[in-house]
Amino acid sequence: MYVAVKGGDAAIAAAHAWLAEQRRGDTALPELSAAQVAEQLGLAVDRVMAEGSCHDRELAALAIKQARGDLIEAAFLLRAYRNTLTRFPAAEPVDTGAMRVRRRISATYKDMPGGQVLGPTFDYTHRLLDFALLAEGEAPTPPEESEATGAPMPRVSDILAQEGLMRREPPGDDAPPPDLTRDPLPFPAPRALRLQSLARGDEGFLLGLGYSTQRGYGNAHPFVAELRMGEVEVLITPPELGFPISLGEITVTECQMVNQFAGQADTPPQFTRGYGLSLGHSERKAMAMALVDRALMARDLGEEVTAPAQDHEFVLLHADNVEATGFVEHLKLPHHVDFQSELEKLRSIRARWEAARNGVAEAAE
């Protein structure tokens, strides 16, 4: 006598226990603390904060630990948590011009006010495995500190704008910007929502799309006007006070990419700007975002829309890795009811096909 498969409850409990055991790994080794993750796997934490849309190093580190290092899973944990938090009023726009800069480079100028600041970067390292890191080494010697010059570091895009060569962004209205996490995306999507979507979008997806615009799918000729990373102050204005107060500092990476634009009858040829901003230190993400942001402007600028990166729906509906991973992975869920009807269907049309073929064969005889 057949008994239907039962015991989902017990199976789930056992699976969860096994997962916890795997996560911990060999108990002969000391357990990794969230603080260690936050300190020593900092760029993973940055990526999880960016894609999780939540700037909290400790929680992001916890998510990475809980997710066994699966960064998309970790971003997902952080988002689900973020969602349960009470909302304060929206912050004032952060002033990246006033950033306490740790890294700032421009590819368009050899030097500019404030200078180039290389900062902590992989850019000029030789990618040779450092076997010394296999052993528990001593703390590396810190570099010699140079005096901060205190010189202001104006944004390169502002320098270009002074010359009138940079396209002016259309003036915004005073309405609060729409919020992607509260309202669904309309199409074509306004820039504010595009940027929100890209800022939390998957780094790998944006990287591939940005790359495609460089390879002819979108016709981009980009220059990094400026890439800067450092700390910015977050200010809010409580209605009862009426003036802004500081909540503290967060780390962000900003990329301004310039691109030529041929102009039209009523607009002179000029530079246009693709913009990327990412929580934490994530240059690749900010740069890819800036490329894709520019590509998505094609429609507004009256350029021909031919490439995937220029297609609002294609880019924005597929950039979110929490959505994407959910739908791809849900294929693991049972689908036997649908599959059963598919089986019956195939059998039925197969029978017709065979009958028809036999009919033809008989007719031919």
């Binding site: 057949y2 989902g8 199409f187 991973t325 959910g326 791809v328 992975e329 294929l331 009807s341």
Partner: protein, 292 residues
């Protein structure tokens, strides 16, 4: 459905609001549901939230259920027709944990039934609410992927593309229609995806006394079929829509009318067929025993 404002069942997780979502979000979703009920079959965009379960696991359905759930409700959750499949267990547990509501596997006892891919065999009654988990709310998406364009087609009531697709199926295969997710016309106006239920279940939507709510989390759409609403599967007059089931009797309860799962019993082609709806199957078996 009863009001649920800030009521905490005694044994629920105190770290979360009743049924997980905050009250403002629930109100927003209920407003969307009212719109959806007022325009049967029409997809209403809503600000879907991230849920602690992944997209594709039923986040749309869970948000709908969370928004309409009250402490007096009795919840049934099925996946592929069964209460005991892992995803159904997981969602039922979730609501038990964050809302502390009574749960059941009995279709007759449930006030809210959240489902993935099936409608129970036992006829639903007035006052019951079905909540469908929907992966892809747009019935035209395979014919026209652009949402801006499909919205226009819905506005114009222009569904000739869907009819052409059906025509092509018949011309090619000798019979029409998709085996599941077969599109339906709701209230003679909107073409709607019934979610990936097998075509076998489509007729159960027509003039049902129960309220049917559909939630798509990732796609951020809600739609509904109010009680006693006409729901007609897309077809041709001379090729009427034909719901299919495996032509066997259930090996467990003997039913010859229920939708069956095919069970592979060995690697030599052995097959057996049993009810997909586990509650229905159990009821049939009890009735049989009682009769003996």
């Amino acid at each position: 459905m009863t009001a649920s404002a800030h009521m905490q069942a005694p044994d629920t997780d105190p770290g979360y609001n009743f049924a997980y979502l905050d009250e403002a979000t629930k109100r927003m979703i209920r407003r969307t549901l009212l719109k959806a009920i007022a325009i049967p079959g029409h997809q209403i965009p809503f600000g879907a939230r991230e849920m602690p379960l992944p997209y594709g696991w039923g986040t749309g359905g869970i948000q709908v259920t969370a928004s309409i759930l009250g402490p007096d409700d009795t919840l049934k959750v099925i996946d592929q027709g069964a209460d005991d499949t892992t995803n159904a267990v997981s969602i039922r547990r979730f609501f038990h944990r964050v809302a502390g509501v009574r749960t059941t596997t009995r279709t007759a006892e449930a006030t809210i039934i959240q489902t993935r891919h099936r409608i129970p065999e036992r006829p639903l009654t007035e006052g019951q609410v079905m909540v469908f988990q929907v992966p892809m709310p747009e019935p035209l998406f395979k014919l026209e992927p652009r949402l801006a364009e499909t919205r226009r087609l819905h506005a114009l009531g222009d569904y000739s593309l869907a009819q052409v697709k059906l025509y092509e199926d018949i011309a090619r295969q000798g019979e029409g229609g998709s085996s599941y997710s077969h599109p339906v016309m709701v209230n003679h106006r909107y073409l709607m995806s019934p979610s990936p239920i097998p075509g076998f279940d489509n007729p159960k939507l027509h003039m049902s006394p129960a309220l049917m709510l559909f939630g798509a989390g990732r796609e951020k759409k809600i739609y509904a079929v109010p009680p006693y609403t006409s729901v007609v599967s897309l077809d041709f007059d001379d090729h009427p829509f034909r719901p299919v089931r495996a032509p066997h009797a259930c090996a467990a309860c003997g039913s010859t009318t229920s939708y069956l799962d095919e069970i592979v019993t060995d690697d030599r082609g052995g097959r057996m067929f049993v009810c997909s709806d586990t509650d229905h199957c159990a009821e049939n078996q009890m009735a049989r025993k009682a009769a003996e």
